[in-house]
């Protein structure tokens, strides 16, 4: 059996890569892709913990169903917002939207 720590370290690595993507990218859609990476890393963690530590009540697996659902809904809405933003401002560079900056 694969030790639990392997899954957790892999999930931590994927989360950090997603974190770098959110912070370092300028294209709005690429930031959304990095958020999806972070959500998937969390999902791996949830399933690993549910399978290894609490196999009788598989709460982690059910939670993952809801995380996937909410992530899909969120990315649909976020792409709609990006499209509207592009239509109004002709740019998807997040550095260009400084209207609410102090």
């Amino acid at each position: 059996m694969i030790p639990l720590e392997y899954y957790l370290v892999l999930s931590a690595a994927m989360f950090s890569v997603g974190l770098y993507g959110v912070l370092a990218r300028r294209h709005a859609v690429l930031i959304l892709l990095s958020i999806e990476l972070m959500l998937n890393a969390v999902n791996i963690n949830l399933i690993a913990f549910a399978s290894y530590l609490h196999p009788a009540e598989f709460f982690g697996l059910i939670f993952v169903v809801f995380v996937i659902t909410v992530a899909a809904a969120e990315i649909g809405l976020a792409i709609a917002i990006v499209l509207r933003l592009y239509r109004n401002r002709a740019s998807v560079n997040v550095d260009d939207f400084t209207l609410m900056k102090w």
Partner: protein
């Protein structure tokens, strides 16, 4: 070597290469395709963890819906006109932050003594999964369907074109 461990290394490498490709690629469409590769790698990891239903759901939703909608979003925002430099000027700080996060998470995870309850992973019986989802977790289930409805209506209203009669 344990064949399961070999599979784990292969699928894990696939996911990580996909993840690094998302954040490091010069071309936005390549990033979207790398994300697809990473998410399918994660589906492989779910199969290794004996959660086959979730692997199916992952492939269907992420590979079938999220990847398509992301590619549509890229197409409709004229990705050909995006400048070549896709990264922020705060890239070094972001690298420091992500390496620090990985370090902290890795240390915490490997230092804790986990006590696995099983010797061998058992797949969850699909009937039990459905039972629990519809009996104990039915309220979050219904709320999730409401969330999807609201997201659907909201996306249509937000992205609708402006010329009205």
């Amino acid at each position: 070597m344990n064949p399961l461990l070999l599979f784990f290394y292969a699928i894990g490498a696939l996911s990580l290469v996909g993840a690094i490709g998302v954040v490091a690629s010069r071309n936005v469409v390549y990033s979207a395709l790398f994300l697809l590769m990473a998410l399918l790698g994660v589906a492989g990891l779910y199969i290794l963890l004996f959660a086959e239903f979730l692997a199916l759901v992952q492939v269907l939703i992420y590979g079938g819906a999220v990847a398509i909608i992301v590619l549509f979003g890229l197409m409709l925002t004229r990705f050909r006109d995006t400048p070549v430099v896709l990264d922020n000027p705060q890239r070094p700080l972001a690298a420091i932050a992500s390496i620090a996060a990985f370090f902290v998470l890795g240390v915490v995870v490997t230092a804790t003594k986990w006590a696995p309850k099983v010797k061998e992973l058992q797949p969850v019986k699909f009937g039990d999964f459905g039972n629990k989802l519809f009996s104990q977790w039915v309220v979050p289930f219904e709320i999730a369907s409401l969330v999807l409805l609201v997201a659907l209506i909201g996306a249509i209203i937000i992205a609708r074109s402006e010329d009205r009669e």
